[in-house]
Amino acid sequence: MNDIVLETQNLVRRFVVGDHEVTALNGVSLVVNKGEFISITGPSGSGKTSLLNILGCLDREDSGVLLFEGRDVSQMSDRCLDDLRLRKMGFVFQTFNLFPTLSALENVMFPMGVAGVSRNDQMGRAEELLDIVGLSLRMRHRPRQLSAGENQRVSIARSLANNPVLLLADEPTGNLDSKNTKEITDLFKRINQAFSTTIIMVTHDLAVASGASRQIRMMDGKIT
């Protein structure tokens, strides 16, 4: 069995900002093994989020190769990438990005609904996940009725809905106080250990990054 979840070879991504071309990723090569918990740190503009976006198939590289479970992602259609993200990946954002009209339970059920899971199974799995993140008593609450820490827990539960191979988190503790930061970091560790979910987390916070099993530092679009 192949234990490599992700592999990149010489990834390059450039952006045009005004009259200038900025190289956000300048030849990034990386291998991510199944079950790893990787943190990516680096100063602003070092290319952390650009790399995460490409690893998460939200953006496409200008050159280089990205293999997900051995398959060349660069050759996939947009629809295939949508399906790959839906079934194999989970996303956690700094600003939680929950759907405001849906309850915590419905937010977690949403990706399963899109994936075609039956309503009963969606509900069972969503309740289980919300229980894991410690929100079994707040399932019917809407995002605006929950605290920042609770919203991020719902967001983490939603990212796990379709039992992903890879969980990508972009500054997941950026909007949290120190207590919630610690709790969320611990939650990621627990998820990594309990489900063997591969986690790649971008963070500014070195204390948070130190909780990962492997720490990657980026500078000027390269892994240092």
Partner: protein, 401 residues
């Protein structure tokens, strides 16, 4: 199901905006349904009149619209009554009913209701037998149609009697003569409700149009019956070719009148529809701007969906479904508003003009049209915002503030 649940949630989340959008579109639909129902009412009323009258050819002044009612022809002038004898000599003609009509607003001290337009009616000088033979559908409510049909006597349509509080024995001045009301008709739901009928000669004289030694009397409408309807067209041609009258009158068969009427009403309907279309266009722009605003507020939310793995088509559907729900609800409210509006128009016209023939008719076809138009409005207005948001770049959408 997910898309429906989300769409419903999004609409109820922004209740005030949704309500305002629904209201805006509903007003446009109500206006359209109201206008179409008036058009439909006119059509029904005209068809009713045509169907009820038992005449084959009408003669009106040259250039007048050939309507099967003397009233409509009167504005275009008149022609000499000497033509009647010539028409009567034509082989196929079995009966000739010469009439003279004049617009008329009585000067009275007291009236039941009526504003600026209130109480406008037509006095029709008609020959003996006209009421029985041509307008046989009219019934007397009270009084009599005197025999012989002569002198300054007046049979009054129900609407006019109501507005001017006329009863048997009332006297009103028409032109230079005083007429005594001898009969009042029952409401017929036709233009006749706003009419007065008097002997032809009496009306001609009241307006100085009676026959004298120097000049013949004036007419502005002749109703004709023929023996053989299949050659009515040829008979009408013969009338049009009567020496000395070609430049002052025009004869047309009832069939061609009906056709022309249909064309006129079709044109009126098109104008009404064009007016409605303007309100609909405003409605479309209203939904479009609301939808654009709504999607621009949800760029990050849509970006999140796309990041999770939702395909563009789902996002597109979501926006279109929201627009569809909004427009169907608006369509239903608009139809209800249209029914109320059409009733208000009918009652308003009846109240202010004292006539019941302008009745707005809301048919199921108009209501279905109202909903379908609302639906088309909603979907067409939702297409661009839906396409735009569905095409947005995921990374940019996630960063959108």
């Amino acid at each position: 199901m997910e898309v429906l649940r989300l769409a419903a949630g999004n609409l109820t989340r922004r209740r005030i905006r949704t309500a305002l959008t629904v209201m805006g579109v509903a007003i446009a639909i109500a206006f359209t349904v109201g206008i179409l129902s008036i058009s439909e009412g006119f059509m029904t009323s005209f068809e009713d009149v045509v169907e009820k009258q038992d005449i084959d050819i009408v003669v009106v002044p040259k250039g007048a619209a050939a309507m099967p009612i003397p009233d409509a022809a009167s504005a275009a002038g008149d022609f000499p009554d000497t033509v009647v004898a010539e028409i009567a000599e034509i082989d196929n003609v079995s009966a000739v009913y010469p009439t003279f009509g004049h617009m008329f607003i009585p000067e009275v001290e007291e009236m039941a209701s009526g504003g600026a337009l209130g109480g406008m009616g037509m006095v029709n000088g008609v020959p003996d037998g006209y009421l029985d033979d041509v307008l046989s559908y009219l019934e007397l409510n009270e009084g009599v149609i005197p025999q012989p049909w002569e002198g300054d006597v007046l049979v009054v349509g129900s609407g006019m009697a109501e507005v001017y509080l006329l009863g048997i024995g009332s006297v009103i001045t028409i032109g230079t003569s005083d007429f005594e009301v001898v009969g009042i008709l029952k409401a017929s739901g036709t233009f006749d409700d706003a009419s007065y009928f008097a002997p032809l000669k009496a009306v001609q004289e009241a307006y100085g149009k009676g026959p004298t030694e120097e000049q013949p009397g004036s007419l502005n409408y002749i109703a004709i019956k023929v023996d053989d309807v299949t050659v009515a067209e040829e008979t009408a041609l013969e009338i049009n070719e009567i020496e000395g009258f070609q430049s002052v009158l025009a004869a047309q068969t009832m069939d061609s009148v009906v056709d022309k009427l249909g064309e006129l009403l079709g044109m009126a309907r098109s104008i009404h529809f064009a007016l409605g279309a303007v309100s609909l266009l405003i409605g479309v722009l209203f939904i479009l701007s609301t939808m654009l605003m709504a999607v621009s507020e949800r760029v990050r939310e849509i970006g999140t969906m796309r990041a999770i793995g939702v395909h563009r088509s789902f996002v597109f559907q979501l926006i279109i479904i929201e627009a569809t729900i909004t427009s169907v609800v608006a369509g239903i409210f608009g139809c209800i508003g249209g029914i109320i509006l059409s009733r208000l128009i009918t009652v308003g016209v009846a109240e202010s003009m004292g006539v019941s023939y302008v009745e707005a008719v809301v048919t199921p076809r108009i209501l279905v049209l109202g909903i379908v138009i609302a639906l088309i409005m909603g979907i067409s207005a939702g297409l661009y915002p839906a396409w735009r948001i569905a095409q947005s770049n995921i990374v940019k959408a996630l960063r959108y503030e």
